[in-house]
């Protein structure tokens, strides 16, 4: 308790620390926002809540880490992870997801949970339970006389995340497939009547989401670290973000992603890093409780 109060007083007396935490939070939040957008996409279009989202991220991270160990620049990991996860997404879609889309939501939740366990344990068997990180050997910037340090990799991750997000948004706005995806999300039946191959749209959406996760994972491996069982934490984070923002609300998802990053940085600084997971779960319960209060007025069954 003393330590917590001490940390708070440090923040109050040294405003420059706040700035440092804020910047770090925003840089990391950009990756959250990217992956949360993928989750919201699948959620909105297919009505499938992908609990394996965080584990897709971990696969992307391990691909990048392996490439780094082979002597490649970790940045190569971004496109490679995207391609590998696209293929993995397609395989999973064919074998599992396509069979649960029309079923009730708990079915898809459990099925993706099963996938998540297989991925976690598979990564654990393949790479061992140690925490790994792909270093890009880039310098660390110091601002304000060394009080704020920003790793260049984080800036790089931020820029890549923003570029990818912009590319995905442009794709959804401009391309024919993007239009078809948005139409299916609005009303899949009407879309089918108008000649859109919704089966293809579903498959494409799931693959796109997996690829986005792969890219996010590659960035996570560069700016942070990967570990087989960290995936669950990411899944919960992304759920918090999307539930708080609402899955149809793209600016909301991005804002909530940044908010999550900042919240974690401040929470971790004030309470200590070991409370990080507890903080995320607490936030989830808070968001659900707030949502519930909002829904007291507009009571309606979500299936």
């Amino acid at each position: 308790m003393q330590q917590v109060l001490g940390n708070i007083s440090v923040l109050a007396t040294m405003p420059i620390f706040n700035l440092g935490l804020l910047i770090d939070g925003l840089l990391i939040g950009s990756i959250f926002a990217l992956a949360a957008y993928g989750l919201a996409l699948v959620w909105g279009v297919m009505n499938v809540k992908n609990l394996a989202q965080g584990d897709f991220i971990m696969i992307g991270g391990y691909i990048t880490w392996s490439l780094g160990r082979l002597g490649f620049n970790p940045l190569i990991g971004v496109p490679v992870a995207m391609v590998v996860l696209w293929v993995l997404g397609w395989v999973l879609y064919r074998t599992v997801i396509s069979k649960v889309i029309a079923r009730d939501l708990f079915t898809s939740l459990l099925a993706t949970f099963g996938i998540a366990i297989v991925i976690q344990q598979g990564l654990n068997l393949a790479f061992g339970p140690d925490t790994q990180s792909a270093h890009a050997d880039l310098p660390t910037l110091s601002l304000a006389g060394g009080l704020i340090t920003i790793a260049t990799t984080r800036i790089l991750g931020f820029v890549s995340a923003i570029l990818l997000a912009v590319a995905v948004v442009l794709f959804m706005r401009k391309s024919r497939m993007g239009q078809a995806i948005r139409a299916t999300a609005q009303d899949s039946r009407a879309a089918r009547v108008l000649g859109i191959d919704t089966e293809k749209v579903y498959s494409f959406t799931f693959c796109l989401n997996a690829a986005i996760c792969g890219a996010a994972g590659a960035l996570v491996a560069m700016v942070w670290n990967v570990q087989p069982f960290l995936g669950t934490t990411y899944s919960i984070r992304l759920f918090v973000i999307v539930t708080a923002a609402g899955f149809g609300n793209l600016p909301g998802v991005i804002a909530a992603g940044f908010g999550m990053g900042v919240f974690e940085q401040f929470g971790g600084f004030v309470l200590g890093a070991e409370f990080q997971q507890a903080l995320i779960v607490l936030l989830l319960l808070m968001v659900l409780a707030v949502r519930q209060l909002q829904q007291l007025r507009i009571r309606q069954a979500v299936q």
Binding site: K49, F106, A111, I117, V118, V281, L288, A289, R291, Q303
Partner: protein, 360 residues
């Protein structure tokens, strides 16, 4: 499902199975004890998941809460808990026979009551949620429980607590816990058979079928949901107290709140056996436990991969479950009368014909 109690022959068979199993297979007493625990898990999960239509991912919370409540009561009656948990690794603390059994009995009762009270408290958060939000919310409760205990020094934090040692021979200990778990499973089955025959059973079935309509018919659904959640929590709390003493060492993430093992087993067993049927969870628990023990023995290291695959296969391809499948195949044997198929098709107007596959 209108019988108020189990058939006397069924009761006799259950008792016979319970008593005979450890005598016939003395080498597997512990495994069979865990099988009865699994039956408790599956049957109590089915109260909400199968009979009320609320798929919870967080029932394990009450198992862990019961385990820790019982540990605190058992230790706290005779020693200072904080001292015990910090000193347990260096000093040897002895419980006399009388201390052990009074502590255990009180701990078990406290565990059940505390779990039920926690259920009432958490029901405020979780029961405003529906469908997948309910599942995620309850999972959040379970993970939060594990994290809270893991950072709470007074109860040993992530390091766990060594439970009081059973004052007796290992053989006696095995049988003692075996019969406790068997007794619990037996009580749960008899109680649930009675519960499902009452108006309460009808009410929770009505909530599953159409909650809005049930409410419009005058059922105070909130009260029924809370009660059902508290009932399953009560039994899970007692199960946690027994299991904690059986293993002799408790720890938050893998023993008390194992969200990825026992927690998922509950759901899988019910799905495998048949959701919403009385015997489905029992059948599912037996089949699943046998499969699990075999894979754990022969695929060591890959067991969790096998588990994940099993989840996907059961959920995607075989969700009606064993009993559900039997009911569909031989409805007469379950006392369900089905109208002949041709007649039904003729009577149904074209506009009501089933929608094409994949339609919402």
């Amino acid at each position: 499902m209108s019988r108020t109690s189990l058939h006397p022959i069924t009761i006799g068979l259950l008792l016979l199975a319970g008593v005979a199993a450890p005598l016939l297979f003395p080498a597997y007493t512990n495994q069979i004890a865990v099988l009865w625990l699994m039956i408790v898990f599956a049957s109590t999960w089915d109260i909400l998941g199968g009979q009320m239509g609320y798929n919870s991912l967080g029932n394990i919370f009450f198992f862990g809460a019961g385990m820790y409540t019982s540990a605190v009561v058992q230790i706290g009656l005779f020693y200072d808990v904080g001292m015990y948990t910090s000193g347990a690794r260096t000093t040897h603390i002895v419980f006399t026979t009388a201390q052990y059994f009074t502590g255990f009995a009180l701990g078990m009762m406290a565990a059940g009551v505390a779990a039920a009270l926690l259920a009432l408290a958490t029901s405020w958060i979780v029961f405003g949620l529906r469908g997948p939000y309910f599942a995620i919310g309850t999972l959040g409760v379970a993970v939060a429980g594990a994290e809270l205990i893991a950072s709470w020094e007074w109860v040993g934090a992530a390091g766990g607590i060594s439970m009081p040692v059973f004052p007796g021979a290992p053989e006696v200990q095995k049988l003692f816990f075996y019969f406790l778990l068997f007794g619990l499973a037996f009580v749960v089955l008899v109680f649930l058979r009675w519960l499902y025959s009452t108006n309460f059973g009808l009410a929770i079935n009505a909530i599953r079928d159409d909650e809005e309509k049930a409410e419009a018919m005058g059922l105070y659904t909130g009260r029924y949901k809370r009660t059902a959640w508290a009932i399953s929590a009560f039994f899970l709390g007692i199960a946690g107290a027994i299991f904690g003493n059986m293993t002799g060492f408790i720890e938050p993430r893998d023993i008390a709140f194992p969200t990825t093992t026992f927690n998922i087993f509950m759901i899988l067993m019910v799905l495998l056996g048949g959701k919403g049927t009385f015997w489905g969870p029992v059948v599912g628990a037996v089949v699943f436990h046998v499969i699990k023990e075999v894979t754990w023995t022969y695929f060591l290291g890959w067991q969790f991969v096998a588990l994940g695959l099993l989840i996907v296969i059961i959920v995607v391809y075989f969700q009606q479950g064993i009993v559900g499948w039997l009911m569909e195949k031989y409805p007469e044997r379950f006392g369900i009368r089905v109208a002949p198929k041709e007649k039904q098709d003729l009577a149904r107007p074209a506009s009501l014909s089933p929608q094409p596959e994949g339609a919402e």
